[in-house]
Symmetry: C2
Subunit: 251 residues, 2 copies
Amino acid sequence: VRPLVSLVGAGPGAADLMTLRAVERLRAAEVVFHDRLVDPAALDFAPPQAERVLVGKAPGVREWSQPRINRLLVAAARQGRRVVRLKCGDPGVFGRAGEEIAALAEAGFAVEIVPGVTAASAAAAEIGRPLTDRAARRSLLLVSAHPAEGAPPLDWAALGAADATLAVYMGVARAGEVAAALMAGGADPATPVAVVERAGRADARRTAATLGDLAAVIAAQAVRNPAILLIDPPRRAAGAAAAPRRAAAAG
Amino acid sequence: VRPLVSLVGAGPGAADLMTLRAVERLRAAEVVFHDRLVDPAALDFAPPQAERVLVGKAPGVREWSQPRINRLLVAAARQGRRVVRLKCGDPGVFGRAGEEIAALAEAGFAVEIVPGVTAASAAAAEIGRPLTDRAARRSLLLVSAHPAEGAPPLDWAALGAADATLAVYMGVARAGEVAAALMAGGADPATPVAVVERAGRADARRTAATLGDLAAVIAAQAVRNPAILLIDPPRRAAGAAAAPRRAAAAG
């Protein structure tokens, strides 16, 4: 028996990048709680009589706190309704799905997760280049530029030493800080960065930058969220200290 | 004008985890070159008269080399046919898409990438848990256990220091090596590992392990590919040397 509640990935923002399974869940939904950035066309897959509830944050709109969203999901499940929680991208990647699953579990409700296309995949597709290759981009690190309140800052020097393409989510506002931290960790300012806005959508825009000019380029081009930063595996700057992992290997 | 050639993500193995856009490209295809692990039901979306070419490697079957696949794609494009290269998961993640794009570009053909759901997302959905959260799993590292021939081995100690959930692709055969390398880098043998076979499919199977018993559990449970290892952000073993990043921060 399928759980009453499905956390469904809507994909990166274009309705046709949803999966067939996501569409099927929407068609069976009695109530849909959706993020602000979900394509309105995605919601059209739900039956006309299904209730649609926008739970995302938006400028000028009363903010929906995570505990409030959790309470709404639990209340709808208690009513025995078939609930779809429609989240941008993949629910498992920076989607706070864990908090919603925990609240529902505490109330006795199982949850199904329907995975989706995450924004990094759509951003790479937009620039016509894979996220990994067998030479220079051997792994892929997905990271959010917005740490949780009270959490320690991410260790960008360690992240930059992992020989991975960095896909930075929610990175527009903090791009300058992220670039500075990576460079402070020894990354070459010439390391290429691709900035992709609205990946997967007809109005997608690609902007090329480097770590060194990233903040200036974002300001000059008026880059806006939703956007992903794809940072090539940071090269070591000439004369920079050895990478942390080398230092550790020697010690 | 859409390019003649589309590199299309088939998702993690269940046909209903394909995107609507992938289905649309299949419906328009004149020839489909597909990996071995693609769900046969996915191919049913292509017109009956479309040619289907299996280009994956399989035990006992003549191996298709990457250069040969590249040549076939170029030859089909030169014939003016509408080509779909259907790849498991997301084409940009461990899909060797870069080599195919380069071969086509050299022959003068542009390529469109249709992103897909990558296996890590499906594996996390299968165990009902997100890949990231705001406390203990603040980033996500996708890595292949099979480095390219001639490439230096991955630096597992550095990878383990990134405070990231590790999603290891193609990791069944080398799980013992991967676990040993992470533990040699200071990771606690008690670090939890979820092994997910055939994520997203009706016959999916989940097996719980730790870094310390991973190889034994995989052998005892006869775990087979396709499978993903989801390793929690490696905890430092008691008494282990400081993490590389700490050593670097102090130096």
